[in-house]
Symmetry: C2
Subunit: 512 residues, 2 copies
Amino acid sequence: MIPIPAKVIPREGTFTLDAGTSIHASEELRVLAESLRDTLRPATGFPFPINSATGTSRVELALDARAQGNDGYALSIRPQVARIAAFSPVGVFQGMQTLRQLFPAAIYRRAPVSGVTWTAPCADIADVPRFGWRGCHVDVARHFMPKEWILKHLDLLAMHKLNVFHWHLTDDQGWRLEIKRYPKLTEVGAWRSDTMLGPPTKDPAKRRFTGKPHGGFYTQDDVREVVRYAADRFITVVPEIEMPGHSRAAIAAYPDLGNDIDKTAVGTWWGIYDKGAVFGVDDKVFRFLEGVLEEVLELFPSTFIHVGGDEVRKNEWRESKAAQTRLKSLGLKDEDALQSWFIKHFDTWLAAKGRRLVGWDEILEGGLAAGATVMSWRGEDGGVAAAKAGHDVVMAPQKPTYFDHYQAKNDREPIAIGGHNSLSDVYAYEPVPRALKAAEAAHVLGAQAQLWTEFMPDPRHVEYMTWPRLCAMAEVLWSPTETRNYDGFKARLRMHLERLRALDVNFRPLDE
Amino acid sequence: MIPIPAKVIPREGTFTLDAGTSIHASEELRVLAESLRDTLRPATGFPFPINSATGTSRVELALDARAQGNDGYALSIRPQVARIAAFSPVGVFQGMQTLRQLFPAAIYRRAPVSGVTWTAPCADIADVPRFGWRGCHVDVARHFMPKEWILKHLDLLAMHKLNVFHWHLTDDQGWRLEIKRYPKLTEVGAWRSDTMLGPPTKDPAKRRFTGKPHGGFYTQDDVREVVRYAADRFITVVPEIEMPGHSRAAIAAYPDLGNDIDKTAVGTWWGIYDKGAVFGVDDKVFRFLEGVLEEVLELFPSTFIHVGGDEVRKNEWRESKAAQTRLKSLGLKDEDALQSWFIKHFDTWLAAKGRRLVGWDEILEGGLAAGATVMSWRGEDGGVAAAKAGHDVVMAPQKPTYFDHYQAKNDREPIAIGGHNSLSDVYAYEPVPRALKAAEAAHVLGAQAQLWTEFMPDPRHVEYMTWPRLCAMAEVLWSPTETRNYDGFKARLRMHLERLRALDVNFRPLDE
């Protein structure tokens, strides 16, 4: 299985799903029993009645106060009974993912498969995740990814016991979230006139373009569907609304949110814009962002709300009379302090509403907001500094968690943004920086993979960059360090890819 | 609803789905009851127990020998009971599609939606399809479409009461079906080095290319999944294996199947190739194609097997010594007669195995094979000639069933192959040619839409070209002529597009 459980004791015999298999669960686990039925029924064609008195074999789901907490579960498989017991429903759900993987890979197909005997080896499994934040980030601003693919991706995250979907919804090249109070954010901000092609270049003269408009956005109904679909799979959706930088799409929609901007357009090329991409520091900007965030909080129950904070070209504030006036009136030292003041405002604002702010590690510059959690992307230093200062940290260092980097050094890979993070690099990753002492390390909530989509124009390309590296990441985040063994992982991965194949995931084949 | 039922009598009151609603069915309809439960449960979150004795309201599925045959059904909706009765399971299934459309459009979402009351208006509906062949063709050779999208497309066909999926699996630019005996068909034939971009041109010097390889194929396990998924929705999958022309991908894999070919490559541009795209007329070609078809027959239970037959550049045979020798030894008049002889061989071969050959209307040239069914694409003439000669016919005329043509005359539409078939053109289509007398018209099995994908690089582009035109086509094929009313259709379509929106279908918005 992937990720490998903490402890597996093989037992004699096999358990077989057949037309007589039923599912048993108490009323509080009824929905999970239905969910298990819905995942086992398509490929097998068996009805899996719930709590049926008759039946030759059974799958039991049970809550057990004595069971491992922290989202863990115990799975016992005997010839007549497969039993998942856990402290809480989330543990039961994780056990269901393990159980499903014990059957032949064809169990993941969506119509009855004939000629397969649906057996799983008997065993006792005790399992518990290493980290609480097991995430995957997807940038849908650079290239819009349709809702149906988001749902597919959530299914795959759940299968791999990942539990955070970080949804990067806004950026210079697109605003993807319907906001009722500000309809132009999607009327204008969700569409761009053109899109830069690879290879990446900083020379404007060398940029090549598709010549086609691109865009799309999620309605609030779509978002509610995604959030609920994720919640039913015990995945938290963390929305990201970028501020104060990477905001060109919003400023294209509402130019007076920028710094001395009359008019600008949604970005068409990749890179950081020198002008028109950073919010001003006016009160009206704050009111606007609060208005946006009020709708965001209604849509997303997540405790954590991501506000970006990365790659702000502070020249925009340096060159703006209004920003300089504000800076001086606040008695601030410099533009770093101004950004810190900006982020602190929203840290306080979110905290008052029972939420927590998370941002990229640049939010450390100029002084970290009191309640902020840091997502460490420029290496580990930001994470180390924040954890040492007593802040929570999510690790997302470019090496090796940026899955927009190349997977192999050959000339056959599709154009990527640069860099190189191989499958083995990801598998070897240790999320807790060595520089941290044990007490500080407790601030490392976990880590996540990043899928920036500048050079991933469609879902199947995203899948190619995601899989199987995310299999490795899932194991890093779930399984105990002592189970880590790359050869063993690769052997299991070979079987696991058959599951992904059944699910029509466009994974990168292994180098053989 | 779309397609509109033959007869609808509104009644007082509403039927409401709630947590107490159960589904009732006899054992022979048990699988349909489960399928209904699986489609109603995601959005409502209700459990819909099957044959539960308790419950406040119920959906009943019943076979009724007195009911309308020919895939029809009766649907009676009263405040406590919604009842679907039909002569056969397929009719029950069609009634389920109607019932689902009577609830709010959010019923098509995949996670529980809050704040919606799931009511349907009371009514008596009596319904029966006009044609038995209600089809949609998809070319996956020009651009490969992933299996998961094929499954989505099948769901949409079922929703629109379409029942034939014509899967165009092979062509000059790609071979998409795994054949165990001939592995190179997919190892070589499923991949091409480049792909022509629009706009279409016949001038080789003006062709523009993506510069990227393209390809993909379906494993036999994938095909079995698709065929079974379709069958569970009462859709027949008609595979198309092109012969003797449009065969460049196969000849690239096995050059000795061609006419004096040493080596060729899978096609990269759109159009008809002058050389290397037509099978030879050797015995070894027949044995090869029989080998392919033997595996095809194992995979596809469809009575009809499509063998293409269109656009054969007969110069290949004219210039081949071997072909000319064969022609003379058979005492045939010309190359048309040679093609006719080729097709007749497979007509006989398929008939001996209990199947029926269907081909594009060029199979009329040189004399139609005894058992052949003609798919009339170059206007109606081929269909008329075949029906008058007592052959069955499927209508697929370019105007208006070729959905690769433009939907509107403006400069904002994505590049298409040319031509123009608007939504109203499709809605106004009459599948039975006027030239046919009543007895001859009985040979018109039905009609289908064609999705040739030269200029549709991905699934979302295909959806844009498909919807809502296929909604119009579905109504043409299902509903009685006397219900046809374009204004009424457009009013219903506006609501129907909300359903497609919930399903994340990238339809072309209506011109308002």
